[in-house]
Amino acid sequence: MEQKVSNNNSFMGYTRSDLTNFLIAMILSFVAIPLVVQTDYWYSSILIPWLCLALAAIGQQIVMGYAGQLALGAAGFMAAGAFACFNLILRVPDIPFFVALGLSGLVAAAFGILFGLPSLRVRGIYLMVATLASQFFIVWMIDKFGWFKNYDTSGIITAQDIVILGKPFTSPLEMYLVILVVVTVLTILAVNMARGSTGRNWMAVRDMDIAAESMGISLLKTKLQAFAICAFYCGVAGALFAFTYLKSLEPVAFDIKLSFKILFMVILGGLGTISGAFIGAAFILLFPVLLNSVGNNVFHGAIDATIISSIEQVVFGVLIIVFMIYEPLGMAKLWGNIKQRFSRNK
C-alpha cells in the first residue's frame, strides 16, 4: 500500500514533490526557454498556441473531465472571449490588457451559463448535441451583427497590440511571457479548485449524481458553475489565441474543428487531470509537426503532403479508440504508471 505523507512539509496542502515539480516548471518556462530558444518559429508556432490551447483544454477538462458533462462548444466560448476582448480594447479607452482579458473571460462565462442550461435536463451524448448550439450560435451572432466586428467588411480584423503599462508586447518572446503569466496563474487556480471542495463537488456529480444530491450538493449550481468556469477559461484562451497566435479576429477560426481538437486533447491527455490538458494539447499540436518533418526529412518529399495529413487523421482516430479501450484516463495516467514503475524498481 502506498501511503502518502500528508501535511508534512506541505504548503497549502501541496506535498514537497508537487512544489519541486512546480518550481522546475517555472524555472524552465520563465528562464530556461527564453534563454535557450531564440528562433521566433518556436514561440509563434509552437509554444504560444500550445499554451493557449492548453488553457482552453483546462476549461474543457473542468466541464468534461471533472464535472462529467459532455460539452462540445469550447471554440464558441473562445470566439466569445476573443471578440469581447477586441471590443473592450476598442471601445473602452485606456483599459489595461489584463482587465480586458478578465472581462472577456466573464463575458464568455455568461455564455457558458446560458449554454450550460441544457445540462440540467439532458446528459451524455444528447447534451453534447445541445451544447453544439454554443458553437454555432456565438459564431453566427458575431457574423450577423456588424457591431461585434466594428463594421469591418473585409472579414478579417487585425488584433490590437498588447500594451501593458504603456509598453507594447509584440515580439513573439514578449507575447509568450504574457501568456505564460496568465496560464500559470489560471492553472494554479484550476488546480486549487480541482483539489478542493469545489472539485470534489464536480467529481461527485460526475460519478453519481443522485448520491451527490443526497449529500446536499445542488446539481443546478454545480453544473452551471462548471460550465461558467469552463467558459471563462476558454474565453481567456480564445482572447489570447486571437491576439497572440492568429493576430487577427475572424469567426471562422473558431469553428467546430477547433472544438473537436480541444475535445481530443482532453480525451487523449486524460480526463480528470489538469496536467492532461497540457499533455493533450502538446500532443495534438506537435504530432502533425513531427509527422511533417519526418515526411520531409526521412522520405524527402517522396510522400505527398496530403497523404501525410491523411495519415495524421488516421493516427488520431486510432489513438482515440486505443485510449478509450485501454487507458480511458489518457496519457497523464500513462505517465503516472511509468513513474510508479520506476519508483518501484528503484
Partner: protein, 265 residues
C-alpha cells in the same frame, strides 16, 4: 431486555402518512403509514419487490408519491427533493452502492461533509484562509470516521477498486460524515459474509448508541433484523402488514404467512 441507553427512544421524528406511489399502472406502495421514533433503529423488511426501497426513495425525494404526506420533526415537507432532505438532516446509503467510483475513500467521505463546508469556488481557487481552515477541519473529522470504521489503510484508494464489503463500509462512512441525526440504510449488509455482517452490526449499534442517530434500515437477514432493531415494519405488495417490536412481528401470523413462510412439518 431493557438496557439503559444513552439516548432513550423518544417521540416520533418521522411520520409517513397514507403514502401511495404508482409507476403508471403499477402500484409500488399503497396507502402506507408508519412513524419512526427518535433514537430508535427501525427495520423495514419484506419480500423482494415489496416496495421497501421505493419507500426510502419517497422519503428521500427521489420519487414523488402521488398521495400522502411526510413529516419530519413535526414539519410536513411540501416539495421533497434529495437536496432539501439532506439539508433537513436526513442522510442515506443506497442499495446498489452509489459511491463516487473514481474518487478516493477519503474524498468520498469528504463529500459527505458538503453541508459543513461553505466556502465558494473563488475562496477555494485562491486558497483563502477560510477555505483552508475549513478543509483542514473537515479533513480531521473525516480521518476520525476513517479510523472509526477501521479503513485507514485504504483511505487513498479509489473506491472503484475496493471489494464490495469495503465499499459498503465507505458508503456508511459517507453517510456518517454528514452528521445527520437521521440515517436511512438500504441493505447495508447485502452481499456480506457473516463476519462482515457482524462487524457492520457493531458499527450501526455503536453509532446509534454513541451519537443517538435514528436509523431506518432495510435488511433481508432476519437474524440481524431481530437482533439490532427496536421496531420492525413489514411490507408486502406495497402494503404495511405489521409494525411493532421484533418479537411481536415474529409472532404475527400474517407476517409468517407472507414472508417467513409456513412451516411444512
Amino acid at each position: 431486555m431493557t438496557i439503559d441507553r444513552n439516548f432513550p427512544i423518544g417521540e416520533p421524528v418521522l411520520e409517513v402518512k397514507n403514502i401511495s406511489l404508482r409507476f403508471g399502472g403499477v402500484k409500488a406502495i399503497t396507502d402506507s403509514s408508519f412513524s419512526v421514533l427518535k433514537h430508535e433503529i427501525k427495520a423495514i423488511i419484506g419480500p423482494n419487490g415489496a416496495g421497501k426501497s421505493s419507500l426510502l426513495n419517497c422519503i428521500n425525494g427521489i420519487y414523488q408519491p402521488q398521495e400522502g404526506s411526510i413529516a419530519f420533526k413535526g414539519e410536513v415537507l411540501e416539495k421533497i427533493t434529495p437536496n432539501l432532505i439532506a439539508q433537513k438532516g436526513i442522510s442515506r446509503t443506497f442499495q446498489n452502492l452509489a459511491l463516487f467510483k473514481r474518487m478516493s475513500v477519503l474524498d468520498n467521505i469528504l463529500v459527505g461533509r458538503r453541508l459543513h463546508m461553505n466556502s465558494n469556488f473563488m475562496q477555494v481557487a485562491f486558497q483563502l484562509p477560510k477555505a483552508r481552515a475549513e478543509e483542514k477541519e473537515n479533513l480531521i473529522k473525516c480521518e476520525e470516521i476513517v479510523d472509526f470504521l477501521e479503513i485507514a489503510d485504504i483511505k487513498n484508494t479509489p473506491v472503484g477498486k475496493l471489494p464490495y464489503g469495503l465499499q459498503k463500509k465507505v458508503e456508511l462512512g459517507r453517510a456518517l460524515a454528514t452528521e445527520a441525526d437521521f440515517l436511512m440504510l438500504d441493505e447495508p449488509m447485502a452481499g456480506m459474509n457473516v463476519e462482515e455482517k457482524r462487524e457492520m452490526c457493531r458499527f450501526i449499534l455503536k453509532v446509534n448508541d454513541e451519537l443517538g442517530t435514528t436509523m431506518v434500515l432495510i435488511e433481508h437477514d432476519m437474524g440481524v433484523v431481530m437482533d439490532i432493531s427496536d421496531n420492525v415494519v413489514v411490507l408486502d405488495y406495497g402494503k404495511i402488514i405489521a409494525d411493532g417490536p421484533p418479537d411481536e412481528v415474529r409472532a404475527n401470523q400474517e407476517v409468517i404467512d407472507a414472508y417467513l413462510g409456513v412451516s411444512h412439518d
